[in-house]
Amino acid sequence: MNNDLNVLNIKKEDNMVIIKDISSKIFIFNVEKNIKSKIYLLLNIKEESKIDLNIGDNSNIEIILISTGIKSFDLNINLEPYSSLKLYSSDLYDADSNNNKIINLKDGSSFKGYEFLSARGFNISGVFHINHNESNTTSKSDFYYLSNKGEINRELSSIIKKGIKDSEAIENVKGILTSNDSKIDAKPVLIVDSLDVKASHGCAIGTIDENEIYYLMSRGLTREDAQRIISYSLIAPILREIDNLEFRELVEPKLLSAIGGI
């Protein structure tokens, strides 16, 4: 096999766990047409890679993608007509990273995304672009970021091209800064060149709201508990989706460590 190219075809309709070291320059995952599946992906990125994930026509897929490693990657997800993808992702690096995620939507496809990133003393950059290339496409993306003495610069955009009809794009960003020297720059951007669409975005970045802490404390939680439970809320949407014990045991400690090991 060519070391620069690796292809994995996903045909099974059951839930499956894929744990891979990515050490080739191009890695392609092909998900069959007309299947419904939940896929757990734990990728350890050892080389700078381009990863393609192709979702076949009319397939209904949920992917929980956790990446770790030392090198950056470009992820291209292509949704074929009438397919749908729920993607819960987190890049859990312990050093600077620049990972890019591009979602391409074809006719009638839908995308729901949740991305959690945590910068603890290092920098995270990169883009997350959603391209509505054809009509009848929908996307809803939530980006939850945590910065503790680190910096997150993320370019987030949904692009609806000219002539696209009956499409919808929603983007929401929540960022929590836990120290004075933390920074998050992650403005959601909507680039819309069509009239027949719905698009909205929201962004809230700041320290943990003192009123939220007070409310939790008024029910008996200590300040530390309150901060922990609010930070935990950033990874809870991912953990709630993981009903595979093997995968959970592998990724839960990494996610907990990303919010401060609590």
Partner: protein
């Protein structure tokens, strides 16, 4: 029987004095109605008891069961058995009701070295949701996020039912509730009181609530002081005569009126 005792309590917000020498005793078997005009200090008293950081205690004492509340943090007061049903509960995105209430219950039981099994917790939560006629998906929804006004108030009572406090302060728990919901909420409060012998401080602007939650005593707060105290017939008196009659009766003058009078004399 434990008692909440407040002595000569003065408190301010942003340098403005709101409470001006409140004295009060409340036992864990009593229900006390707190009424008064808007801005008279009722909610301030509730928040001061619960240690909200925006409120400063300038003078006085608050003790519960002989313990000095003013030396305790908000969470310590809560674990001691004091609960505030808030008028405007905060929304916490990303934290589910179930996770939050379980965490609070675990924390409370840590004090008594009890372990709350998840099965017992889930059964109790399910029943409490049913008792309050709330949507079943409420447990997995984020705390108060996208809740209607009525759902938020019921969610406060749900937490109270789960945590079973010794003293509960209900701050305008009936505002935003329709007639049926007021009855449901009141029934749940009464049931918990009957079961555990909980003390209640009930703040409301509406007589209707006190038809369901019967007070042993009625306290009228005006301009940050306790202006009058009596039994439930005081509610009828206020209904007929308004708060102005009490102000006149005890010689209380609104600060605005006082300023206007001074300006006129000058």
């Amino acid at each position: 029987m434990a008692k909440l005792i407040i002595k000569d309590l003065w408190a301010s917000v942003s340098g403005v004095t709101i409470l001006k020498g409140i004295n009060l005793e409340l036992s864990t078997d009593e229900t006390v109605a707190f009424i008064g005009p808007n801005g008279s200090g009722k909610s301030t008293l509730a928040y001061v008891i619960m240690g909200h950081p925006s409120y400063k205690v300038d003078r006085g004492e608050i003790t519960f069961d002989g313990k000095d509340l003013l030396k305790m943090t908000t969470d310590e007061r809560a674990r001691l058995g004091i609960f505030l049903c808030m008028q405007n509960p905060y929304e916490i995105n990303g934290v589910t009701n179930r996770d939050f209430i379980k965490e609070a219950l675990d924390k409370k039981e840590t004090n008594s070295n009890k372990i709350v099994s998840y099965y017992k917790f889930a059964t109790k939560l399910e029943k409490a949701i049913e008792d309050l006629k709330m949507d079943k998906d409420l447990a997995t929804r984020y705390v108060n996020e996208s809740f209607s006004g009525g759902e938020k108030k019921k969610n406060e009572i749900l937490q109270m039912k789960m945590l079973e406090p010794k003293i509960a302060i209900l701050d305008e728990i009936d505002s935003g509730l329709d007639v049926d919901a007021v009855k449901i909420v009141s029934d749940n409060v009464n049931e918990l009181k009957e079961k555990n012998g909980m003390g209640l401080m009930v703040i409301s602007h509406y007589r209707r609530l006190f038809e369901y939650i019967k007070p042993d005593r009625v306290i009228v707060i005006i301009n940050g002081v306790i202006a009058k105290e009596g039994d439930s017939t005081l509610l009828d008196y206020i209904d007929s005569n308004g708060f102005d009659s009490i102000k006149k009766e005890i010689g209380l003058v609104d600060e605005v009126t006082l300023l206007e009078t001074c300006a006129f004399k000058r």
